[in-house]
């Protein structure tokens, strides 16, 4: 069976997102990956992830279960985690090959090869625990997951074998670039899906459904690209749309009552006003300085040796918000260390940093025309609870009662808008014909 799909790809500075729609404009799959320094690959990986997600949704439907990941049944969760684990192991195998090759190229002896082999074998063993229901992962990207495991294991191994730690780490830093620039194929996923269903202790119903989901032919019928790196997308010019318009339309599709959209992404913050049809009427964004954007939080997380996902929850524990003066990434780092040295608590400083970001966003919102009912918050930072709390507070103080919409899939807003534009272009072609 063949199913045409329309894809929107949002090539952000931090992550690349893909949203796949069917001919009726329903979301059939979503994919996300880190943007790396290679936009072409990021684009292909996000699409492959989107296709994989579409097949999983199809599997759920074949099983007569809800399709959304959040509502997955126990067996759907198990097979989805098994597939993720499989993907992790494939990447690990590729990493192993690359590291051994690097050892050979550098003329390192067998001791090094054994050390690397030992680290990767331990990673393989430990990885199973990451993919059990309820397991907490700091990130879903192979680079981050494998990186933190490797770092920890390399330290012990280096000490045990008397090898220079920095050099053992250096191997990983070089190797991971090659591994993450490999593009996963839909073919491999289809094979893995069938294999996971057959070998994971599932019943015959699951195997049959998996075969049908894997057998589905997904055919790309149209695509539109957007986002910070949109000029680098392998799309023709007319298939590239401004991220402002995509975020406006995406937010409108998620919440049709939307009139004001705030998007805080990695590299920029956008305040957008839309009309009743999701058409942008006005917008403002930060100038060349990315102060107070997602990257700022990433930098702060690094400074505090925390995962990006951990910042918000920690800041939410604050009882006293420290006043932070600068949303400049460089100055904030200095201010952060100064506050720590003065004995301020980490959560209180973090609460202050979140408030500083939102204050900057509030000024852009005011410049764009204020906050109208309803107000939708999108982008990666909308998933951060402390940022949301600060926003709610400041909106209430400055504009009174406003409905604040945040979709659990807010990070996909731009990609959704792009996919809707792709679908509209199809309609335009049909009309013209």
């Amino acid at each position: 069976m063949s199913l045409p799909y329309w894809v929107g790809i949002d090539l952000g500075s931090t992550t690349t997102k893909a949203v796949l729609l069917d001919g009726d404009g329903r979301v059939i799959g979503r994919g996300i990956t880190n943007s790396r320094s290679n936009y072409d690959v990021a684009c292909q990986v996000a699409l492959a992830e989107g296709l994989a997600d579409a097949r999983l949704a199809r599997l759920a439907r074949e099983l007569g279960e809800p399709e959304g990941e959040e509502e997955h049944s126990e067996r759907m969760q198990r097979i989805s985690l098994a597939l993720r684990h499989r993907q992790f192991l494939d990447n690990l195998e590729a990493l192993h090959e690359v590291l051994l090759r690097l050892c050979a190229e550098k003329g390192l002896d067998d001791g090094w090869r054994d050390a690397v082999g030992g680290i990767l074998a331990a990673m393989e063993r430990e990885s199973a625990a990451l993919f059990v229901p309820g397991a907490e992962r700091k990130s879903d990207f192979f680079r981050d997951l494998a990186g933190s495991m490797y770092m920890r294991l390399a330290e012990a191994t280096a000490e045990e074998r008397g090898l220079p730690y920095e050099q053992v780490l250096g191997l990983y830093d070089k190797g991971i670039l090659e591994v993450e620039n490999r593009t996963p194929s839909d073919e491999t996923f289809r094979r893995n899906l069938v294999r996971a269903a057959e070998t994971g202790g599932f019943d015959a119903e699951m195997s049959d459904a998996a075969r049908r989901a894997a057998g589905l032919e997904l055919v790309q019928a149209g695509s539109v690209g957007t986002g910070y790196g949109r000029a680098r997308l392998p799309f023709p010019r007319k298939q590239i749309r401004s991220e402002i318009l995509c975020h406006g339309l995406g937010a409108h599709a998620m919440f049709p009552g939307t009139r004001t959209v705030l998007d805080i992404g990695g590299q920029d913050t956008k305040a957008i006003q839309v009309d009743g049809a999701g058409i942008v009427t006005s917008f403002q964004m930060n100038d060349r300085c990315a102060a107070g954007c997602g990257r700022y939080l990433g930098y702060i997380a690094d400074e505090m040796n925390l995962g990006l996902h951990e910042l918000g929850p920690l800041a939410s524990k604050s009882r006293k918000c420290v006043k932070i003066n600068s949303t400049c990434t460089v100055f904030a780092g200095a201010e952060l260390r100064e506050r720590l040295s003065l004995g301020e608590r980490r959560e209180d400083i973090l609460a202050g940093l979140h408030r500083a970001i939102i204050l900057r966003a509030m000024s852009l919102l005011a410049r764009s025309g204020g906050i109208e009912e309803e107000f939708t918050f999108t982008g990666g930072v909308a998933r951060n609870p402390a940022a949301v709390e600060a926003l709610q507070k400041l909106v209430a103080e400055n504009y009174g009662d406003r409905t604040l919409n945040i979709s659990p899939s807010s990070i996909y807003t731009g990609a959704l808008g792009a996919a809707l534009f792709a679908l509209r272009d199809k309609d335009a072609v049909v009309e013209a014909a």
Binding site: Y228, A231, L245, A277, V280, S282, R288
Partner: protein, 327 residues
Amino acid sequence: MLESGNVGPTGERLPDPDLLLLSYTGCFTFMKWFELLREKYDCPVVMLHVPYQGDGVVTVPMRKYVVDQLRDKVIPVLEQVSGRSYDEDLLRAMLARSAKAEDDLVHVLQAARNRPSPIDAYFGGVYYIGPIFTAFRGTEEAVGYYEALRAEVDERVRLGKGPVTPDGEIPEERYRVVVEGPPNWTSFREFWRMFAEEGAVVVASSYTKVGGVYDLGFRHDPDHPLETLADYCMGCYTNLNLPSRVDMLVRYVEEYQADGLLINSVKSCNSFSAGQLMILREVEKRTGRPGGFIESDLVDPRYFSAANIKNRLESWFQMIDQRRRTA
């Protein structure tokens, strides 16, 4: 250039000034510039204070205030430095030539009312105001330049041709734009290309009026030489109050059938940038056409972020497309 011994882009050395004369109209940053220049050249400095049109009009006392300064402060120093006495007949003759050149300049700028516009009234426009605004005001050369320009532009209108850019002619006029604010001199060509590539033509701009708003009727008047100089200084675009600027921009958007107003807000000139968001909202409200807002600078290259500006410009052009489709 100053530090390298005043050698200009043509390789020729410019002579040191004998006198520095400043009227504050353009931008008050100039006061600081001239303080520095005075230190550098150690020559007489005359500062002509020009009152701001706070209430949107030039009053009789305001005119008298400037004329008195010209007569009592500026002319005596000029006489002293040059060793020549003030010749009012010569000034009248220059003002008459200036007015003639101004007629032709207005004709050229208003040619942008045609579809397609034969000129770009911002990126191209700064070349057109150059001879009048800088060195050649009141000269025969300026008169000749504007005659030739007028003929060339009329010919382009006759042929139905659009503007010429450094990269060639714009094949199709897709957007008609009014621009407020100075251009980005440090990345001028790259900035222009962002418009040209999208088929965006600037049909009117406020920056080309910092040397006089001739298209709104002002002409140098040889019969009242000092008064007309005073009116000129007080009537330059950046000396107008915000309501007058809004009126002018609304008029441009409508008369030149523009798709909307774009503001290039620069960091280094408060005379332009203060109040621009209010201007944007007002013009949007009164014309019903979407406004665009970009930020850069006229002199500091660090404020020019090509990716950011391109992003906003593309978004704005696509906004206009969307409006057209749903209109």
